[in-house]
């Protein structure tokens, strides 16, 4: 693996050129450009806020939209990065068949381009948070860069896996998109984690593993982390009188380790198959 990494480093200029290509091409023919990166998630936020604030449980939340937005931004990054990655190698197939280059630059460049959009979305979020919600910046914000980094590691790992599998089985992109659709509901995006954590099913004796499974799912843990480190806890009255869960450093560290393990595992798998891409049956 170190040899693969050294080779990747040698091709870092190509990686950057591919990132630039992705960034330039994405909205080249649209008039509103980067707006299309932020408009869909913002519309989603507006819609979810409307439904849950005026028709559901969220009535007692102050600025529920901030809770949703803080989850939608990492979710959108994960979703678009994984979907783009699943297609990435086949889109470059003509080049890969003819030119030697470390194959991982392809999914990696697509992940990095999406990561840059992700960072820009956060910039917009902070403007919104400070100027519109007028929320204070909490000291727990020191976790924020860590979470961003961990998510990047996780996304690169999953991107490598999905891009590699899709070369051999083109159903992977369909399976991925179905699974991502389901994941959207399984993650605390439209709701807050306390509602799941304190739910009778999860709290029942003997169901601790189910709760752990939920809490240690890396994406759920990351979304919780972002929420806890950027926003004040919801009022107990908004979550059925329960105590809101604090940011859990142990969970955050385990999520980091898990993401690194996912990256290492997926990269090893990718490397074991990357020279077969051109020979796919």
């Amino acid at each position: 693996m170190t040899r693969d990494l050294r080779e990747l480093w040698r091709f870092r200029e190509l990686l950057w050129q591919l990132v630039r290509r992705d960034l330039k091409v994405r909205y080249k023919n649209s008039r509103l450009g980067f707006f299309w990166s932020i408009a869909p998630p913002l519309m989603q936020v507006a819609c979810i806020t409307f439904v849950f604030k005026y028709a559901g449980f969220a009535a007692r939340f102050t600025s529920y939209s901030a809770y949703v937005l803080v989850a939608i931004i990492p979710w959108t990054f994960f979703l678009t990065a994984v979907l783009d990655a699943s297609q990435s190698i086949l889109l470059m197939y003509g080049v890969i068949k003819k030119v030697y280059l470390p194959r991982e630059v392809v999914p990696l460049s697509s992940a990095i381009a999406n990561f840059i959009h992700f960072l820009l979305s956060w910039a917009i979020f902070f403007v919104y948070l400070v100027a519109y919600v007028r929320a204070p910046i909490l000291p727990t914000i020191i976790w924020f860069p860590y979470l961003v980094l961990v998510q990047f590691v996780l996304v690169v790992g999953v991107s490598l896996l999905v891009s590699c599998l899709n070369v051999f089985y083109e159903d992977i992109k369909y399976i991925t998109s179905v699974l991502l659709n389901l994941l959207f509901f399984l993650l605390p995006i439209m709701y807050v984690v306390e509602q799941v954590y304190y739910s009778p099913v999860f709290a029942a004796p003997g169901h601790g593993w189910l709760r752990a499974l939920y809490m240690y799912n890396p994406m759920a843990a990351l979304i919780n982390g972002y929420r806890k480190c950027l926003l004040q806890s919801p009022d107990p009255s908004a979550i059925g009188g329960r105590v809101s869960l604090p940011l859990d450093p142990a969970n955050m560290l385990i999520t980091g380790l898990l993401s690194v393990a996912i990256l290492v595992g997926c990269y090893a798998y990718f490397n074991s198959r990357k020279w077969q891409f051109v020979e796919r049956p």
Partner: protein
């Protein structure tokens, strides 16, 4: 120019591909395959090649379709890994294969030069330094050169090929691989390509090319390697090898 060392050395080089008679590209078919063995065949495209190409030599690979010429080029370009045997390649390699596969239609000519140059392994500074040279080589007519900052989708196929060729030859590789692409552009541009290739030869660079055009082979190469069913049938100075290849294929 005296050959200093060997550009390419192949020792008992073998390459096989697994061919599925019914193409599978889905999980469903893969699952079915796992259950009942589907006819799967291993095709040995290269069967034990021993070949040494000294630095500075221009070698033509000739042979019928399916004899393994392009597979050998891909192995030299490190796109394929050998199934067994060894291949050693000394120096940088630029493949002049299917020009412009890395082009993006929405980027301008200039942006595509940067992209394609780095795909071919050229440092980006070098690409920028030689930008004018690349454009001038591709488009000598001012009306064509004026299009260089417009998106590539406005270019004709010929223009794209000229641009691709120009970038590839400006990467200054130690080894140039050419796969049947010398039929680029109009006659004037072809003449220019040949001059460029002669210049490569004079610089002492190695060229390995595949062609079915025996006039090109006779004109450009000093050595011809005749591949037949994945093995070397005849290897030597161009004229006798080409003569016997031609007489056999006519006979």
């Amino acid at each position: 120019m005296v050959a200093l060392s060997n550009a390419v050395v192949c020792r008992d080089l073998r390459k096989s591909f697994v061919v599925h008679h019914q193409v599978y590209g889905s999980v469903k078919l893969a699952a079915v395959n796992a259950l009942r063995r589907r006819p799967k065949e291993t095709i040995e495209v290269l069967r034990g090649l021993d070949l040494v190409v000294p630095q500075g030599q221009t070698t033509a690979l000739i042979g019928r379709n399916g004899s393994g010429k392009s597979t050998l080029l891909s192995l030299i370009a490190r796109v394929y890994r050998p199934t067994s045997g060894e291949i050693e390649v000394n120096g940088t390699v630029a493949p002049l294969l299917e020009l412009g596969a890395g082009f993006h239609p929405d980027l301008t000519g200039l942006e595509n030069i940067e992209l394609y140059g780095s795909i071919l392994g050229m440092p980006i500074r070098e690409v920028r330094r030689r930008m004018d040279e690349i454009v001038a080589f591709a488009f000598d007519a001012p009306d064509l050169a004026a299009k260089i900052d417009t998106p590539l989708r406005n270019y004709s196929e010929g223009m794209k090929m000229r641009l691709g060729f120009s970038i590839a030859v400006h990467t200054d590789p130690d080894i140039l691989l050419v796969d049947e692409v010398l039929a680029v552009g109009d006659e004037a541009f072809q003449a220019k390509c040949f001059r460029r290739i002669e210049q490569f030869q004079n610089d002492g660079r190695t060229i390995i090319f595949v062609s079915h055009d025996m006039a090109v082979v006779r004109r450009s190469s000093t050595r011809a390697v005749w591949l037949d069913a994945g093995q070397i049938r005849l290897d030597g100075p161009t004229e006798p090898v080409v003569d016997s290849y031609v007489s056999l294929s006519r006979g």
